[in-house]
């Protein structure tokens, strides 16, 4: 296997998935709107006390990001499974894990990146300061790809199962806990003046670990789903 054909396979799958997302913009927009609405409900429900909002802000944003990511997970492999494209992906002369990386990257661009870009605007509702705002964006930038990576394992495991949407949430949410703790922790500690570097490093470690293990686990789950 040559290196160029490997990148060709990744590029091909990313291009196709982004093109499909462009044709079905409403699907991608839904999880973004979901995020905006969930985040905006909290100031309305908790009340306009600035100190309280600042305390809960990072956590709320991070939980909302988790849920928004979860919402789009069911779509990662289902369409490919139903229309037979997944069979073709498995029979490509490249390791399946390589294609999984492409799929997950496309998923992140469609559903993770908008969260990262929107987060500064949303955090205004919680009165986050300039510096912790930067840490928040950074933590989401490191954390959301991890969410997509871990989520892909769950999405592959529940292929062809009835009521898979809820099942994937039950499978994946516990695995999201470390990312949530480190992500929200980074912002909280930067607000407390300790600086968020330690937590950001841990988030980076989570990302590397998931990049290493998740594509492989996802590929195994996909093969089992197709048998």
């Amino acid at each position: 296997m040559s290196r160029s054909s490997m990148w060709g396979a990744i590029g091909g799958i990313v291009r196709r998935d982004l093109l499909l997302a462009m044709r079905r913009r409403s699907d991608a927009a839904m999880s973004v709107f979901f995020l905006v609405i969930v985040v905006s409900l909290f100031p309305l429900g908790v009340g306009p006390e600035p100190a309280v909002l600042r305390t809960i802000g990072p956590g709320v944003l991070w939980v909302a990001a988790l849920l928004a990511c979860l919402l789009s997970l069911a779509r990662v492999f289902t369409a490919d499974y139903v229309d037979g494209t997944l069979e073709q992906m498995v029979l490509v002369p490249q390791p399946l894990a390589v294609l999984v990386v492409g799929k997950v990257f496309a998923h992140w661009v469609i559903s993770g990146l908008p969260i990262v870009l929107l987060s500064p605007l949303l955090s205004l509702q919680f009165g986050l300061s300039g510096e912790s705002l930067g840490v928040l964006v950074m933590s989401l930038l490191l954390g959301t790809p991890t969410l997509s990576m871990i989520g892909a394992i769950g999405a592959a495991l529940v292929l062809g199962v009835r009521g898979s949407g809820l099942l994937v949430a039950l499978l994946v949410l516990p695995l999201y806990v470390p990312v949530l703790i480190f992500g929200a922790g980074a912002v909280t500690s930067s607000m407390a003046g300790i600086g968020g570097e330690a937590n950001l490093s841990l988030l980076g470690a989570c990302l590397v670990l998931s990049l290493f293990l998740a594509p492989w686990a996802t590929a195994v789950a996909l093969r089992i789903a197709l048998e």
Binding site: M1, S5, G8, A9, G12, I13, R15, R16, L19, L20, R23, R24, A79, V82, D83, G84, T85, E87, Q88, M89, V90, L91, V92, P93, Q94, P95, L226, E227
Partner: protein, 206 residues
């Protein structure tokens, strides 16, 4: 050369076939026939390496395909009973992305020529595939056969929902592939109109 050695397959509680040995020489086609549920598609999926056999092995040029993995995938074109085309993409985009995925990148001109060869006219190339009929979608999937340079073709009921004329075109294409020394395995309910010296029939009894 493709060989199946003492294959057996079980789906759930039911044993579909056991101790099945068959050989496909270059230039010939194996047509798998049998009743519904007799295990034809399962056998084809075993040949494609999508499904591991319960027992036995499939050999490509004498080597076990479970060991060859991606090297074996690089030898075959598989068209299953699902078309593998996206409703939101046009036939042209579908064909080009399927070829790119398979590692056989083709130009737009080549893809258009392939679609025309199987009887899909230019105006159809740029419609979303969801407006196509079942037979037209099948033809988009089969158009890959005009671009494929792989020696082994595995086709699951390629003639489903095709009209008589298209069935003829696909059969001709198959014949040309065999004449070039290619191999094929075909699951079908129909008679395949190929010279008898190129055709081998395998009946599964279930």
């Amino acid at each position: 050369m493709l060989q199946a050695v003492r294959l057996s397959c079980r789906r759930g509680e039911r044993r579909l076939f056991s101790d099945l040995t068959v050989k496909v020489e270059p230039g010939t086609l194996l047509a798998i026939v049998g009743e519904n549920g007799s295990g034809k598609t399962s056998l084809l999926r075993i040949f494609s390496s999508l499904l591991p056999p319960e027992d036995g092995a499939v050999l490509w040029e004498g080597e076990d395909i479970q060991q060859l993995k991606e090297l074996y995938s690089g030898q075959l074109t598989y068209i299953g009973h699902l078309n593998g085309i996206k409703d939101d993409l046009t036939p042209l985009e579908n064909l080009m992305s399927a070829m790119a995925l398979a590692g056989e990148v083709c130009s737009q001109t080549e893809a258009q020529a392939a679609l025309e060869a199987i009887g899909l006219k230019r105006p159809i190339h740029r419609l979303p595939s969801k407006v196509l009929s079942q037979g037209q979608k099948r033809r988009v999937a089969l158009a890959r056969l005009w671009l494929s340079t792989r020696p082994l073709w595995l086709l699951d009921e390629p003639f489903t929902s095709l009209d008589v004329a298209s069935t003829g075109i696909v059969t001709e294409r198959l014949h040309a592939h065999l004449q070039r020394g290619g191999l094929g395995v075909l699951v079908t309910h129909q008679e395949v109109d190929l010279p008898t010296d190129r055709l081998q029939r395998l009946r599964l009894t279930g």
